[in-house]
Symmetry: C2
Subunit: 221 residues, 2 copies
């Protein structure tokens, strides 16, 4: 795993949080969150895109790649473990831990964090009740996300669609996809963002990036 600058880490983390709300993140939304100018965002997006940490289509926004998401989860893991440590062991108030964890989260030793996790007894939640990713970046429990963001070869279930248009529903029914359909992603194609999915018990099918952005799935971890 590569090393990132503090600034890069803050960008990754913030994009991750924004993605929990909306499929794709826009330049302006990120600029506002980070208290910076849209132009600075564009600069950084080019940089992170070059490092393959996110998918970036100029004028359309961006979303984390698998590597980017993994990196973001590691940063969030560090942050929340330190928060837990500060509250549980050092008796800081729950409202004081965030600021200090913002600094500690950038200390990059993987072994340090894994040992800290063990020392703390593998806590599942931080003092604010947010889940702490494990050493592989997994968050326990049900994960809800866009099909677009589903990791490869991970069994998942369709739980919602982001668009109710007739055209979308027609496409879905043609492909035999509906609420509750079980599927997994076999392969992604970087060229156009399309993917090949296997639908439980039956056929293999191709899904465009556009469609994958409108299907929500859940999976157990």
């Amino acid at each position: 795993m590569l090393n990132f600058s503090n600034s890069e880490e803050n960008y990754l983390k913030t994009i991750y949080h924004l993605q929990l709300e909306s499929e794709t993140v826009s330049t302006n939304a990120l600029a506002e969150k980070l208290n910076t100018r849209p132009a600075s965002i564009t600069d950084m997006m080019k940089k992170l895109n070059a490092k393959k940490l996110l998918h970036y289509k100029p004028y359309y926004g961006f979303y984390l790649s698998n590597d980017g998401k993994k990196a973001a989860l590691m940063i969030i893991r560090r942050h929340r473990l330190w928060e837990f440590f500060l509250a549980e062991k050092l008796k800081f108030g729950w409202d004081e831990v965030h600021v200090i964890a913002e600094e500690l989260e950038h200390v990059s030793s993987k072994k340090l964090i894994d040992k800290l996790d063990e020392y703390l007894g593998f806590p599942p939640f931080d003092p604010h009740g947010d889940p702490i990713p494990d050493s592989k970046g997994k968050i326990r429990g049900m994960n809800k996300m866009l099909l677009l963001q589903l990791p490869l070869k991970t069994p998942a279930k369709v739980c919602a669609v982001g668009n109710q248009s007739d055209e979308m529903l027609e496409l879905l029914s043609h492909k035999n996809i509906g609420l509750g359909t079980k599927l997994e992603i076999k392969k992604r194609f970087d060229f156009d963002g399309s993917m090949e999915i296997k639908i439980k018990g039956t056929q293999v099918s191709n899904i465009s990036e556009q469609l994958a952005k409108n299907i929500f799935v859940t999976y157990e971890s």
Copy 2:
């Protein structure tokens, strides 16, 4: 207390360590320790001098001011406390702790370090046996240093002189200073680096910077 950059902190820390060996630190000595060029040292010395963290006389070297020493001791305190934490609580080997502490030592919250100290039971030594400064920057035990560096209003005792010349000894005897003389510094004058000292039980006297650089003292803390 101000905040320093990682680089500034590394300079301060290194100067402190070098000062344990020789009164004043030279540009080249510091450059070698920090694996950098002498010109870079000069640049940083100007910066630290402007912040009043050290006394700097071009071509003659530099030594930490009271503020600079205080800052250095705080950094060393953080470093050693984290080392203790890593070895004692997280079960790192004594040979692994240094590298990680180099990162952790730059996390600047004072409250964090004081709470960590308390949590660890105020350990007096790190895993390598080096003493850990307390929250006021004091190192327990006997301190030996140049009169030049002695904190204000701290009772101390002359334990050695750095120069055996007749001229020096003449000056010392004239001022009634010898081995074992008890004294403390009443006031320093930034203009010429001279100081006013009170010699135990008797008179007040003025000492030049040049002389203060050649008298070693010890004091209890």
